[in-house]
């Protein structure tokens, strides 16, 4: 190790000491960070998301019985991502789009050569032939059930991208249709914006829920949340597949 390495180690240790002080819940450092596991949820914003009473309409929520709650998703994480903080999510998928576009810009769209010299073995090819539709179906299932079970657009899109990665691993000449990917991606992004604008027109705020919520816990419930999550799934799946395809064929 050289002098520069020791200096970096020293700086990192000092910084670590400061960060540990900030996260120590036993001393009063003005940051109001509690000890691990002793968070009082009633002091946080999340309690309104859990009780679904952001608009001060306090009601008891019961699975499979409550009709038309404020946000109809049984999965609280989904109701935050696709409803309460959907504007944040719109920003996030914009960042994802810019990163994917930047990668395509840096690498160039030449399709000049493949990463692999030959096809994979016979067993791998047959295995991929069986696995690919099953993985694709699993991705679609995860996306559609995003408001009931763990999962949703981000996870399902990533599963679909993994299925396409398997195709690339098995066949050396496998190519994706980049025009089709671009059309899918633009369609998803523009539909997301249009749903937001419809909410702005009908209820006066961007990306608000303008459909009936239905009974919490059933498949056809939660208003615009499943639609938004399906669009996010299409967009994430297309973008991650595009990233993989660009890296392999660079």
């Amino acid at each position: 190790m050289r002098f520069r390495d020791y200096l970096s180690l020293f700086l990192v240790i000092i910084l670590g000491f400061i960060i540990f002080q900030a996260f120590d819940g036993t001393i009063d450092n003005g940051l109001n960070i509690k000890q691990f596991g002793e968070v009082n949820l009633s002091e946080r914003t999340s309690i309104h998301y859990i009780n679904k009473d952001v608009n001060n309409e306090s009601t008891q929520i019961i699975y499979n019985e409550s009709k038309n709650p404020e946000s109809g998703s049984a999965n609280y994480v989904t109701s935050i991502i696709a409803n309460y903080r959907a504007l944040d999510t719109l920003g996030e998928i914009t960042v994802l789009f810019i990163a994917a576009a930047g990668l395509a810009f840096v690498l160039g769209d030449h399709n000049k050569n493949n990463a692999f010299a030959s096809d994979a073995s016979f067993i791998v090819k047959i295995g991929v032939k069986i696995l690919f539709p099953l993985l694709f179906l699993l991705g679609i299932y995860i996306i559609i059930h995003g408001h009931l079970t763990p999962g949703g657009g981000f996870q399902g899109g990533a599963v679909i991208a993994t299925a396409i990665l398997l195709k690339f691993l098995a066949y050396k000449d496998y190519k994706l249709n980049h025009t089709g990917l671009t059309i899918l991606e633009s369609f998803a992004g523009i539909s997301f914006l249009i749903i937001g604008l419809i909410g702005l027109y009908t209820d006066g705020s961007f990306l608000t829920n303008f459909l009936a919520n239905g009974t919490i816990g059933t498949l056809f419930s939660a208003g615009v949340i499943p639609i938004i999550y399906i669009l996010i799934g299409i967009k994430v799946g297309a973008e991650l597949s595009g990233i993989i395809s660009n890296l392999i064929n660079a």
């Binding site: 520069r4 390495d5 970096s8 180690l9 700086l11 990192v12 240790i13 910084l15 670590g16 960060i19 540990f20 996260f23 819940g25 036993t26 960070i33 000890q35 691990f36 596991g37 968070v39 949820l41 946080r44 914003t45 999340s46 998301y49 859990i50 009780n51 008891q60 929520i61 019961i62 699975y63 499979n64 049984a74 999965n75 609280y76 994480v77 935050i80 991502i81 903080r85 944040d88 999510t89 996030e92 960042v95 994802l96 990163a99 994917a100 930047g102 990668l103 840096v106 690498l107 079970t149 763990p150 981000f154 990533a158 919490i216 816990g217 994430v236 973008e239 991650l240 890296l247 660079a250």
Partner: protein, 120 residues
């Protein structure tokens, strides 16, 4: 044991962030630097999730076995933020790696002190 209870998750993820920072500062190979950034990414995500944990809490999903909103759920907000941050993280890593590929094509090396224009 009480000390471990309090510090295992938070301390572990902060140590992960610091190891990543040390790697970014001292490694010479460009791919090693991107790997260190990935380690920092994982550490930050784990830290945010552990800040929302409640002792004995339930996963924040209404199901047939956890049917009402009066139960002791963990904080769903950090989970929602981390969920999107992970997907952004992989896109950023892929962008960084594409720049690394281009640097390698132009300079034929991955060592940062041999790249023209970056010499100290």
């Amino acid at each position: 044991m009480a000390f471990l209870n309090q510090w295992a998750y938070i301390g572990g993820s902060i140590i992960l962030i610091l190891i990543g920072l040390f790697g970014v500062l001292t490694r010479r190979n460009l791919i090693k630097i991107v790997v260190s950034i990935g380690i920092m990414d994982t550490g930050v995500n784990l830290l945010l999730v552990s800040l929302g944990y409640i002792n004995g809490g339930l996963a924040p999903i209404l199901t047939a076995t956890n049917p009402t909103n009066n139960l002791n759920f963990v904080d769903p907000l950090p989970q929602a933020l981390v969920l999107t941050a992970i997907v952004i993280g992989v896109a950023i890593l892929a962008l960084a790696l594409s720049i690394v590929i281009k640097i390698y094509e132009n300079n034929n090396t991955l060592q940062i002190d041999e790249i023209r224009g970056l010499k100290l």
